[in-house]
Symmetry: C2
Subunit: 692 residues, 2 copies
């Protein structure tokens, strides 16, 4: 028996709906309303447009699908199950249970086919812009005539809530500016949020707003398969503008008592309502997790078509490898997340003869080398590259090549050649720290690029929700945070970080490095690029610092262990430990010398990374910080919060326990106690207390 | 001698410009470009439209002026000096110096006439929306026919950078929805940011975007006094829509080499360029901080007109006091930030007989009382009030009264009467956590209301940049953060806070309270409302908790001291201390009982607030945590980060050192070690180590 087209569509759509309803009902927790309303759109996208092969969820040239409205996770799980990504009915039946592959919100790594971790609203939208950027950069860099080895799109399903969030607004503005025509957003405009109808707070004209950003905007009935299909076709046809399809839908569609109400949003329908809803669909009321065979056959076609497409792409890759062996090797290395041979051979080594140098400047010199040795290092700043020193000089701006008024020279393709147009490697994120961060995560998870983003450390606050998701989903992103203390001076307390270092240290999976001088900065970058398992933050100074004399001090390679003995008491047996990070290490060294002159035997520990130090074996940690040695003083121009971990209750913490102040940097530092005198006096008082 | 009109305007404008140039040059630090480009607009606003009296910067019915582009601080300082706010030339000459009244960015509290602390972009815009909300609420609540005691506007000067930030986009969307016609934004569209021209990243049509939000939008030549004047008049005439005046300006106007370049943005012009610029203005090239007497006379008129207006308002207030003595008293108490007599008399007292209760539910019951006893408690949630329990029932939605399609009943004025329209006390912030927070700060600094805002604790990340400014500027705002641990369960790691508590504790001036049960929740609210000097965060559970039996345990009033001995070892001499916060206190109590049964003498300390406990005298702290007693175990379902402060290096910390997981809450808690068994076993191992 065959089922006629429209009927078959409805059968498939209702299969998605009822699986989602049943998953939520069985878990007794979750969000049934979105899957019920958006199933038709998702069905059209997945069965008629999405370029994917469920047999290989990691196929590099697949279209990316981002469920920005992550609370509708059962929609995605149902699709992944039905199209053959390896999810099972059992997985769907363990929705939201301990250890299952179907957690409450989609989590990258837990489930095949989940591209990014979503849930906090707006984030997936930002990630998707990053994916679309990565695709355009890879295409411009690696494609050759007749060999489009990168040729895919990024699709998003976004909710009202996603589009209320500022991060999505920032990302949409940038996507329009960059003319990311390969980005297509289905906006599930159901006008219902968790607590209310949107008209109590969200009466703006979203379509007009996106048109103002430079997007193609279409409005359709999101319950109408043909209309959605036509809109997706039109969206794909416009390669000059990202597309927003404003799809009017009905949350909780089919539920006699809950459709179009916020009660359908975030709670199970309830057993009785589930039955009534199934009845409304013409579904067997008592069958749970029921998949009609005709529907399954239709969903199976996704895999069949995907296999063909992937096979065709593999043929193109074969020809590409033959014609462009070096480029092909670089492409495959980039996708594998490997660093090119010799990438760090030319990294600089500094000596005191180079003169005092801010670590932001040392970072800039490192990046000047990496610009050549690591050709897929791509990123930018939130309008602060003159201050953060993060411009990849001579590597072009990432810009649409089709915008003559932007003053670009015409694009030349490829790594070896020019670097204009979408092959440019400097992204102007604008004053949009939050979107920048979500975009970087999307770039990392797209694969093929090593993304970085820069701003002042204080403004890491703006980035925080996206940093967290990068950490949770273990994205390899490098954040360059300069102006890392009150020593930045005149800009004052609004710009001076205080609590940021502690706040970031508290986050799981985030590696922080606060190098003490130019050579530690080199090591920090080396570690950052090799690190896996989460993002890395580099904390760099605005102010100049001495280049430490490594002929008399320990080598900067100690950075890799998180903390190391930089200078020790002359006879070898310290009675006191000074622990410092970043710009305060040279201050601790001066205090150490003064103490030595006064007969006090101190050790200076440079501790650029708590996280790396904690990962060392106990014997190493105990060698650096002997447990019996309680006389310890920490020096860091940031919140004292957390430093008891290293100095205990017997030590002293020299930190910043209030907001900063506007004045020249050296004045601020002196007023806040970052002077040799104060470190020496504090050390002596700790020692006296210990001896007592 | 009199100077003709246009000439006088130019003289005044150039006075603002040259003062700003000289201030930055003398500090050798700062941002001259914005004041030079925006001086004409600011001059028109301040001398022809702004309702203010420099003799009384705190006059309640003044117009508010927010320099959202805080880096242009010298513009504001020049205006405050010229119009007579008490700033002196000496102050201008000490721009950005230690202890001066002219810090790098405007800071509320440092300088008379500075309404809010700005600098981090987008924040001032959000604050201004909050001020406009407060104005409308106070007007709807207190004004009576013929007695408009609240009748002012909020003006903003915003830059390209402000309007790139998501927080401003969120706030603008809400302002449009709420039809805040008393809000007028001058957008200094100079198309230059710190690092570039805006066309590399910000090519959107800002005017069209704001029109989509429902704003009145005008485009003018921002250098043209008459055009700006007319636009401001038209903006004031539209009381139904907030207004955006897109003013094309020239950054660094008049500087022969730097006008219209980003070099004018963030650095002094340099001595030679200062001379050339002054020459271009027809200014004496060698005169620094020069104020032509004709210009000063013109600026003096601001004060003269302001005195008249304030005097007229005082007459209205006199009549109002006579006609509405009770309302007048409530109004003046609200403006003074005082709580009404008896405001806490009806707060509930809970007993175990009330059954287990989530602290969010206890919080809801407290708010139900406060809804009546504290009539200027105004706030809402970021679309989560069904979950956060923060709706003030029966107190109406804050909505424009002129929007029949919103389904509001017609507004009735006054505290005693209805609560609809702008007198409604529940603000639907939408899924806009960041704007919500900036708005709350603006409401607090406007005065007259006690603002609160709610969301899940995890999403405090979205709020963070605005929380920081609230803390820095000591705004009295209450954040209600529910779902405060991994115990929230199924929603999984994207929604489960881990590092948030530690991250927030690291912030200066922020008071956190994590109550252990319903009665501690009452105390927490009591403290929050009486606290001054910064915002307060309440951390509340989703899950139910026992109501602690205060007939056998210490009174919940101990919350006021931050930490207190809830239960002690029977003979009085504990050998071990269990320190817990919030939901983990009842777990610690259970462990305490089990330990007692096994002959181990433990003390349970409930520590709802680190900040309050640290502020106690040393003898109290030592009585709660005897220094000699090293066997300590902390229990908190959050990051262990920082807990060494209380348990030292000899204690143990039961916390969450990785991200959460999706599963029912009790399962997650058990898997992460929050069980009586684990607390008991940990306590015993600490004790064994101590004895050893």
């Amino acid at each position: 028996m065959t089922v006629p087209g429209a009927k078959l569509d409805e059968l498939c759509i209702n299969t998605i709906r009822t699986l989602s309803i049943d998953g939520v009902q069985k878990a007794n927790s979750g969000h049934p309303g979105l899957p019920m309303g958006a199933a038709a759109m998702a069905y059209v996208l997945w069965t008629r447009h999405l370029r994917c092969d469920p047999a290989d969820p990691a196929w590099p040239d697949r279209d990316r699908f981002v469920l920005s409205a992550g609370h509708g996770s059962m929609l995605l799980y149902s699709l992944l199950f039905l199209t053959g990504y390896g999810l099972t009915l059992d997985d769907l039946q363990h929705f939201r249970q301990w250890g299952s592959r179907t957690p409450g919100h989609p989590e990258r790594g837990d489930t095949p086919g989940v591209e990014v971790t979503t849930g906090p609203l707006g984030q997936g939208f930002g990630n998707a812009v990053g994916m679309a950027i990565a695709e355009r950069w890879l295409a411009a860099t690696f494609n050759r005539p007749g060999q489009p080895i990168v040729d895919h799109r990024t699709y998003v399903l976004a909710s009202d809530g996603d589009l209320m969030e500022g991060v999505a607004a920032e990302a949409a503005s940038l996507a329009g500016d960059l003319r990311l025509g390969r980005l297509i957003v289905l906006y599930d405009a159901n006008r219902i949020t968790l607590s209310a109808t949107t008209d109590v707070t969200f009466s703006e004209d979203v379509g007009a707003r996106f048109a103002a950003y430079g997007w193609q905007v279409q409005e359709v009935d999101g319950m109408d398969v043909a209309a959605v299909d036509a809109a997706l076709t039109a969206a794909r046809a416009d390669e000059q503008r990202p597309s927003l399809i404003v799809a009017r839908t009905h949350i909780g569609f089919g539920s006699p008592h809950k459709q179009d109400t916020f009660e359908a949003h975030g709670e199970p329908l309830g057993k009785d309502e589930v039955r009534l809803t199934k009845r409304a669909y013409g579904w067997p009321e008592d069958a749970d997790f029921f998949v009609p065979p005709e529907a399954q056959r239709e969903f199976d076609r996704v895999g069949a078509r995907g296999a063909e497409r992937r096979s065709a792409w593999q043929q193109v890759m074969l020809a590409y490898r033959a014609a462009q062996p070096e480029l092909a090797a670089a492409f495959e290395r980039a996708l594998a997340g490997e660093l090119p041979p010799g990438w760090d051979a030319a990294l600089p080594v500094f000596t005191p003869a180079d003169g005092d140098m801010a670590t932001r400047d040392a970072g800039g010199k490192v990046m000047a080398v990496l610009a050549d040795s690591l050709p897929n290092l791509v990123g930018g700043s939130a309008d602060l590259d003159p201050s953060t020193r993060t411009m990849l000089k001579g590597k072009g701006d990432f810009q649409s090549a089709d915008v003559p008024e932007k003053g670009q020279t015409p694009p030349t393709q490829g790594l070896a050649g020019g670097v204009w147009g979408y092959a440019g490697r400097n992204i102007h994120f604008g004053i949009r720290e939050h979107a920048m961060t979500a975009i970087l995560t999307g770039m990392a998870h797209h694969g093929g690029v090593v993304p970085f983003g820069a701003t002042f450390l204080t403004f890491s606050d703006y980035m925080r929700p996206s940093i967290r998701l990068a950490a949770l989903s273990e994205a390899h992103v490098i954040y360059v945070w300069t102006h890392d203390s009150i020593a930045l001076g005149e800009d004052g307390p609004t710009h001076q970080p205080v609590e940021q270092i502690a706040s970031l240290r508290a986050m799981p999976n985030l590696l922080l490095l606060r190098p003490a001088d130019a050579n530690e900065t080199v090591e920090a970058w080396r570690i950052a690029l090799q690190h896996r398992g989460g993002p890395v933050g580099l904390l760099l100074t605005r102010q100049k610092l001495p280049v430490l004399d490594r002929s008399t001090l320990a080598a900067a390679a100690g950075v890799a262990r998180g903390a190391y003995v930089l200078a020790d008491a002359a006879p070898g047996s310290p009675e006191l430990i000074l622990i410092a990070t970043g710009s305060e290490v040279s201050l601790a060294l001066e205090a150490h010398r003064r103490l030595a002159a006064e007969g006090v035997r101190s050790r200076v520990v440079s501790m650029p990374s708590w996280e790396l130090f904690r990962a060392q074996p106990a014997e190493y940690r105990d060698a650096v910080l002997p447990p019996a040695l309680h006389a310890r003083v920490s020096v860091e121009a940031g919140s004292p919060f957390g430093w008891e971990r290293w100095v205990g209750l017997d030590g002293a913490i020299i930190g910043v326990d209030r907001f900063g102040a506007s004045a020249p940097g050296p004045v601020v530092m002196a007023e806040y106690g970052f002077t040799v005198d104060n470190v020496v006096a504090t050390a002596k008082s700790v020692l006296a207390r210990e001896r007592h």
